[in-house]
């Protein structure tokens, strides 16, 4: 199957948006997962609920909330545009932000479960060996949580590739700028005789997701093999 110029453009744009969304949200996701797994504080349940909110909210609502807060005239968006010249409106950065918000809870959930499964005694041993909390996190918690982080990245990446509602509400459906695979499929399905092209995009989406899942499984196996000696 040789891809057309339009398909290449859509595919590369989707990968760019999903990649940027995961790259920028991963450090925050790991930190959030660590806080939820290891810290005890007043209001933790509320914090947990807020983190997971994008999982249950309709994506259109998320898109609308992003428009209100991060749009060029939004609560934070206006400040970002005036002071730093950064705009999320109707461009691929906005699409990446929408994808990141939608994928965030999935990523956090997977990483959190992985951190919770780490024997805290290993972290305690590291502290008795002179490592401060930061070093314990970097040298013990983070490497041992690797399978969960990997799974979180793959799940998040797949969710970003499939993101539709929040993106179309927040940054619209602009060819070459915000028209990712699902948006392109939607556009084709609204066009007479576009079904064949939509099917090709559907196949591309399936192949892409399978590659992501397969790579994650292979990396996970390699990690387990290494630990088993």
């Amino acid at each position: 199957m040789i891809l057309t110029a339009f398909e290449w453009q859509t595919l590369l744009l989707s990968l760019k948006i999903a990649g940027a969304a995961i790259l920028f949200s991963l450090p925050i996701g790991i930190l959030t997962a660590w806080i939820l797994a290891r810290c005890h504080f007043w209001g933790k349940s509320i914090f947990d609920s807020i983190v997971h909110l994008p999982l249950v909210l309709p994506p259109v609502v998320l898109g609308y909330l992003l428009l209100l807060t991060m749009g060029r005239r939004g609560l934070f968006g206006a400040w970002l545009y005036q002071h730093l010249g950064i705009s999320f409106s109707f461009n691929w950065r906005g699409a990446a932000l929408a994808s990141a918000v939608v994928a965030f809870p999935l990523m956090v959930r997977s990483i959190r479960l992985s951190i919770e499964s780490i024997d805290t005694r290993l972290e305690n041993v590291a502290r008795t060996l002179g490592a401060n909390k930061w070093r314990v996190f970097l040298t013990i918690t983070l490497p041992l949580a690797f399978p969960g982080i990997l799974m979180g990245v793959v799940l998040g990446f797949a969710r970003c590739l499939g993101e539709f509602g929040a993106t179309i509400t927040f940054v619209s459906n602009i060819q070459g700028e915000t028209r990712t695979l699902p948006l392109a499929m939607y556009t084709l399905l609204q066009t007479p005789d576009g079904e064949h092209a939509a099917m090709r995009l559907c196949i591309i989406s399936i192949i892409l997701s399978l590659i992501a899942l397969f790579s994650s499984e292979m990396l996970n196996r390699l990690h387990k093999k290494k630990l088993a000696g």
């Binding site: 502290r127 008795t128 002179g130 630990l227 000696g229």
Partner: protein
């Protein structure tokens, strides 16, 4: 000298310990399961914070509740070997051994600049006979080997006191005998003071110079091994 005078309350258990322990040779902490032996170890190494009291090790105040002093575990220079070896599964033995060393920047830089292991590393690896295990992952080691590596890792962090929390209880009899001889070597060859928690009188008889008996979260008796082994309390055990 280790001065301990602490109190710690749990929902269903309260722990009190007040005693000066000579930091020489092996001091055994003896008691039945649930008596508070591991609580004492975790209070000394800083993984637990007492409700009140003081812990002073060789003139260094580790805990003083009145002055709000609580030195965190990483700054106490107290090594701990736990019941399970708890080796870091993602590091090879050599990296496990050097973990504590790498937390001390000056020693780490010196060792890396010279491109050869420090004499202390070689000495400890020799004493514990773990040189042939250096390039293996923990999953490839037997129980006794794991525990020897755990001891080496704790020693290489250069502690002024080594705590051992029932280090032999997960091992079979031949491995126990083997490891006891290594612990003997530590006190004689490396002059490392050890506080050794156990509920096994034979281990106490074999390696301890002094014994503290803990019962129901309180110090019951403390003294030289021979004297304690003759006490009426232990005669009931025997």
């Amino acid at each position: 000298m280790l001065h301990i005078d602490i109190k710690k309350k749990f929902p269903s258990f309260s722990f009190t310990f007040c005693q000066d322990i000579a930091c020489q040779g092996v001091t055994a902490i003896l008691g039945v399961s649930g008596s508070g032996k591991s609580t004492l170890i975790n209070l000394i190494n800083g993984l637990l914070q007492p409700d009140s009291g003081k812990i002073i090790l060789n003139d260094t105040v580790l805990v003083d509740s009145e002055k709000a002093i609580f030195v965190p575990p990483e700054k106490r220079h107290i090594g701990t070997v736990f019941q399970d070896a708890l080796l870091f599964p993602h590091y090879k033995v050599i990296k496990n051994l050097n973990y504590g060393l790498n937390n001390k920047m000056d020693q780490c830089i010196k060792s890396k600049l010279s491109h050869k292991p420090s004499s202390r590393f070689t000495e400890i690896v020799d004493v514990l006979n773990i040189g042939h295990l250096l390039n293996r992952y923990p999953a490839m080691l037997s129980g006794g080997e794991k525990q020897r590596v755990a001891i080496g890792r704790a020693l290489l962090a250069n502690p002024s006191l080594l705590l051992m929390d029932e280090p032999l209880s997960a091992l079979d009899m031949p491995r126990k005998k083997e490891l006891l001889s290594y612990i003997d070597k530590l006190t004689h060859d490396l002059a490392m003071p050890i506080i050794y928690v156990t509920h096994n009188i034979n281990e106490v008889r074999r390696i301890a110079d002094e014994v503290a008996i803990i019962d129901h979260g309180q110090l019951y008796d403390y003294g030289a091994t021979e004297q304690i082994l003759q006490s009426a309390y232990l005669q009931e055990w025997l």
